[in-house]
């Protein structure tokens, strides 16, 4: 038994047409039957509202609306049909401050370009098997930004909701089939 990706719809938002086609081909190779494309954030938001896809994969740098603004709008716009939708941001940036900027906009997973098919699959695996809880505060709504942090912690767990690090983290690189 493997993932039944034919049951989901994916929206890819990318202004670089060859990259859009490549990402679309990868999703098709994974088994996704319904892959939609959009050329920028505005078109992406429109298609998101019309079709309510299960996953969004978006580039960062686009005009007139970039991927960060799209993520923020999806999380906060009253017209958004699903504020919890998993959002994977693709970008050439990998510096910590960029990752934090994306995280603060409500991005679920960060995928650095260039990437391999397995890199993309690992992000999908994370959002399927280890979805983040959401946080609503005075100035933020989006996936909990604290997924990391407990690895190596040796002390007592204080809350019922605390999770053992060994249970929480899976070395996906070492698994042949994840």
């Amino acid at each position: 038994m493997s993932y039944q990706f034919q049951n989901i719809t994916v929206l890819i938002v990318e202004d670089n047409q060859p990259m859009l086609e490549l990402a679309r081909a990868l999703m098709t190779a994974f088994g996704v039957k319904n892959v939609m494309g959009a050329k920028h954030g505005e078109e992406g938001f429109k298609k998101f509202c019309e079709h309510n896809p299960d996953i969004i994969i978006a580039d960062w740098m686009m005009k007139p609306m970039d991927g960060i603004s799209l993520a923020h709008r999806i999380r906060n716009d009253p017209a958004s049909p699903n504020k919890f939708v998993p959002f994977v941001l693709m970008t050439g940036f990998s510096e910590k401050r960029r990752v934090m900027q994306a995280r603060d906009a409500g991005v679920t997973e960060f995928l650095v370009k260039p990437f391999t098919a397995r890199d993309l699959y690992r992000r999908l695996y994370q959002i399927i098997e280890r979805p983040r809880q959401f946080v609503r505060s005075e100035d933020f709504f989006g996936p909990d930004r604290r997924r990391k942090g407990a690895a190596g912690y040796q002390g007592h767990l204080r809350r019922n909701t605390d999770v053992q690090p060994d249970d929480y983290y899976v070395n996906v690189d070492s698994d042949k089939r994840i």
């Binding site: 990259m19 190779a29 260039p114 399927i128 042949k176």
Partner: protein, 176 residues
């Protein structure tokens, strides 16, 4: 601060935690994807026939516009904006080079990004360094150097890295 004091603190702000239903899991089920599927997807990436040259030329033209803007800028201009006009096309070169069989472009552009992410102001020496990156990436693309460039590629990387290191040693006392 002891535990009692720690857990008696007033919350800094109110936050609500929500666990949305995992509809995605419900739809796709379990079992992951097999190695066979993943290998096919990797092959698809490795064998894509997209011609990177037109894309690269577009991003190189954008980088050159950024360099021109930097040349004409003065210290009172918004330096972050001026740097971003070179950084963004550089990021596109880094992102797309490796996707379309030009890993050397990705390596060089990555070094350019590291440089531009650290500098705080633009001057003539910054312009000259970015220009050297532009010239090198253009030569790689025009020469259709689609692998890692071998020994020549390593030498190009070393020369560009040394230019950055010299800049930081001279002006900021730190290296990349």
């Amino acid at each position: 601060m002891n535990d009692r004091q720690h857990f008696s603190q007033k919350p800094r702000r109110n936050a609500e935690f929500i666990k949305p239903p995992n509809m995605l899991k419900t739809k796709v089920g379990s079992g992951g994807l097999s190695d066979d599927i993943l290998n096919k997807a990797e092959n698809l990436l490795e064998n894509n026939t997209v011609d990177f040259q037109p894309l690269a030329e577009m991003y190189l033209a954008g980088l050159m516009k950024g360099i021109d803007l930097a040349k004409e800028s003065d210290p009172n201009d918004d330096q972050e904006y001026v740097i971003s006009r070179m950084l963004y096309p550089g990021m596109q070169l880094k992102a797309n080079g490796g996707m379309f069989h030009y890993p050397l472009v990705t390596r060089i552009a990555d070094k350019l990004i590291q440089f531009l992410e650290v500098i705080e102001r633009v001057d003539i020496e910054v312009v000259e360094i970015v220009m050297a990156f532009h010239t090198t990436i253009r030569a790689v693309v025009m020469g259709r150097v689609s692998g890692d460039g071998g020994k020549h590629g390593t030498e190009l990387m070393r020369a560009l890295n040394e230019a950055c290191v010299r800049y930081f040693d001279k002006y900021q006392g730190k290296s990349l």
